[in-house]
Every structure is written in structure tokens, then in C-alpha cells.
Symmetry: C2
Subunit: 230 residues, 2 copies
């Protein structure tokens, strides 16, 4: 049954009610989607989920709107909302955006950005640790954190939000892939390499590595990616 999705909601409800219910519900659903509990293509029934979470349909619809705007859900008129199924074109466009944003962020990064370099180091280290301990899923998560931190080199809240959405969409792609381990594994070392260039102040070199990184990842993803039919 889908009643497990209420886990942890009651507690939040009790304390710190400074946020609306719709946002909170959206947060719960967002987690369930990005962790694969609701695979791409799943229809999210208003009635079922509303009943499971103990909220009204009005409130739930507001949460759906939020997630639709983040591109995690698609809204078909009079048919309901579905967990997004990304096409190959989506993957291509996502990597177009990543190339544009991440490369530009690296290029214009100040030599010693005291704020995000630690975040980059943490992400790389965490990826390496997850690799040693064979926690394959965590490798992907660390990877995402690394590239979000890359985006943060731009020093722009709006770019940060954009990267967050891009990463969330990429997770949808990963969930319809058969072997996420083979995909994420080789990039741990390459992240370390990029970090090295950034540490040395060699932004141009880092950008070049990042560009080929993204090209490779996109090609590999498109090859291994088989989008389920609608």
C-alpha cells in the first residue's frame, strides 16, 4: 500500500508550522519521487494520495502545481498528474544547459572562492568514500552535489535554483536506467581531477575537463537510456 508515504509527516505537522501544508506535502512527494518510490510514469491520484496523507484535494492540488512547475510532474488536463517521463530530447537539453551553466560558472570563478571550494571537496570525498564502501546510489548523490557546487561558483541564487531543478530532473533519468552503478562509478575520479585544476587556479583546464566530462556522460546516458513508452 501507499500509506507509507505518510511517514514522518505527522511529526513535522506538530512542530514548526511556519510553512504551509502545500509546501510540506510537496516536499514529501518530492522526496518520494527523487528516491524512486514513485517511478516515472506513475499516475498520482488526487483521492488516493490525499487520503493517504490526510489532506484535502485542494491542498494536494496546490502541491501538485508546485512539483509540476519543477518539472517533476506533468499535468494532463482532466487526466491528472503523472511522474514525468523524460525523453531523449530532454536528456540532450539537460546536458546543453549543464554545459552552458557549469562551464560558464567554472570559467568566471574567482581563483580562491572560499565559500564553495570546501563544498566541492566534501562532495568529491564523499563520492570516493561511497565508492570504496560500494554504496552505488550514494555515488550518484555525491556526484549531483558536486555539480550543484560547481554551479554555485557562479555566486547566483537563481543559478543555484536552476541547477537544483536540473539535478532533480536528472534523477528521473537515472531511475529508468538499468545499471546506475556502471554509469556513476567512473566519474568519481574525474570529479577529483576537475577539483584539482580548480584548486590550482587553472580554470581553463577545469572547464576543458568539465566539457568532455559532460559530453561523455551525455553520450553514455543516451546510449544506455531507454525511455519507457507512454
Amino acid at each position: 500500500m501507499a500509506s507509507d508515504i505518510t511517514a514522518g509527516l505527522e511529526l513535522d505537522r506538530a512542530l514548526l508550522d511556519r510553512t504551509g501544508t502545500a509546501e510540506r506535502v510537496a516536499g514529501v512527494l518530492r522526496d518520494r519521487i527523487t528516491e524512486g518510490f514513485f517511478p516515472p510514469g506513475t499516475r498520482l491520484s488526487e483521492e488516493a494520495i490525499g487520503a493517504a496523507l490526510g489532506i484535502s484535494r485542494n491542498t494536494l492540488r496546490e502541491a501538485f502545481r508546485l512539483l509540476s512547475h519543477e518539472r517533476l510532474l506533468v499535468h494532463q488536463l482532466n487526466r491528472g498528474v503523472f511522474v514525468r517521463v523524460l525523453t531523449a530530447e530532454d536528456v540532450i537539453d539537460l546536458y546543453r544547459v549543464r554545459r552552458l551553466v557549469e562551464c560558464a560558472a567554472v570559467r568566471q570563478a574567482k581563483p580562491a572562492d572560499p565559500d564553495v571550494l570546501p563544498a566541492l571537496r566534501d562532495a568529491v570525498a564523499e563520492g570516493e568514500l561511497a565508492l570504496r564502501e560500494a554504496r552505488w546510489r550514494d555515488i550518484g548523490t555525491a556526484n549531483m552535489r558536486f555539480h550543484c557546487a560547481i554551479g554555485r561558483l557562479a555566486g547566483s541564487p537563481r543559478v543555484d535554483e536552476l541547477m537544483g531543478h536540473v539535478v532533480a530532473e536528472l534523477r528521473l533519468v537515472f531511475h529508468v536506467m538499468k545499471n546506475p552503478r556502471a554509469f556513476h562509478e567512473p566519474y568519481v575520479a574525474r570529479n577529483r581531477e576537475i577539483l584539482g585544476r580548480l584548486d590550482a587556479g587553472d580554470n581553463a583546464g577545469a572547464e576543458r575537463l568539465l566539457a568532455t566530462y559532460l559530453d561523455d556522460a551525455e553520450a553514455q546516458l543516451l546510449h544506455a537510456y531507454s525511455p519507457p513508452e507512454t
Copy 2:
């Protein structure tokens, strides 16, 4: 009175109802906001607007939610929604994003992009025409269209959407400025100049012009910009 905002809604309602009411209402409100009918800082009462548009509060709240996510409205818990008032930091960040995205789009543009070059030419010509005919507001609109077309050089739907949102936010800035004419006027010629470089295949030159363009505009904007207190 605020009942004029229903203009054009009834007709749409009759034909082509392929879009939900919330989206349609959001469209109406978006127009009213970007055209300055609802200036930044205005509180949008659920009851008043719902009555004026003849829709229920639940539906209106969905429209509010959509516009909040586009950053045109801000939602304060138990206080309602307000037309966004941008701070100087917002202006700075918007130009950070523009520099990053527009410059990158220009840099990686293919020499002869047959799709967007006409759009760029149209926007420049329209700006020059509006300048000759002293339609100051239209100069700003043409300006926006030019830079949206610049973004389209990236060939990415997601970048297009990002630029659309950035431009919508910039309109909020312009509405709290005292003299929009003096601001927009000088940039008509500079747009023509950038277009010339792109036409000649000189992407690097175009990018350089664009960068100084954005630096100048940001500085001028920050100087002339006095955000109203909350």
C-alpha cells in the same frame, strides 16, 4: 476600479478551452502585472480579484501559486500574495544570470543560425521604429525581445524559459523606475551593433559588446533604482 481586468476573459472562455481556468487566470494576472496595472508591492486580495474575475477562491489560489513560482508574486503566510518588490540584490543577480547565459549563448552560437537571426533582426528593427515614433515603452519591450532571442541562440527550451522568467522579473524593476525612457533609449543602437557582429560571424566581438552592454545597464539601473520600502 479593478473590474477592467476581466477584459478579454469571457471570449477566451467560449473558444478553445484546452487550458484550465487557473492557467488562464494566471495569464490575465501576469499581463496586468507586467504592464504595470498592479505595481510592485500591491496586495492581491483573494476576495476582490476572485469576485472581479468571477472565479472561486480555490481556483484563484492556484493561479497565485503559479505566479509565485514565476517570482512575480510573493506569498506571505496568512497575509496573502503581493506583487514582488525586487531588491538591489535581485537586480545584481538578474544581471549575473544574464551575463552568464547570454554571453555563453552568443559564444557558442553557430555562425549562421537560420532560426533566430531573423528574430534578432526583427527585434532590433522594432526597437528602432519605436524609437523614431517615440513609443518609449515599446522600446523596452523590443529590447526584451532582442535579449530573449539572444538566449535562443543556445537552442535550449530550458534556457528559453529561464530567459523568459528573467525578463519578466526585469519588467518589475522597470516599473519602479522614474524614467524608463532615458534607460532604454541608448540601447537600441547597441543592439544593432551586436547584431552586426553576429551577422559577420564575429561571435567573440559580439560577446564582448554584450558584456559591456550588460555591465553598463546594470550600473545605470542600480544607480537609478530606488526600491520602495516594504
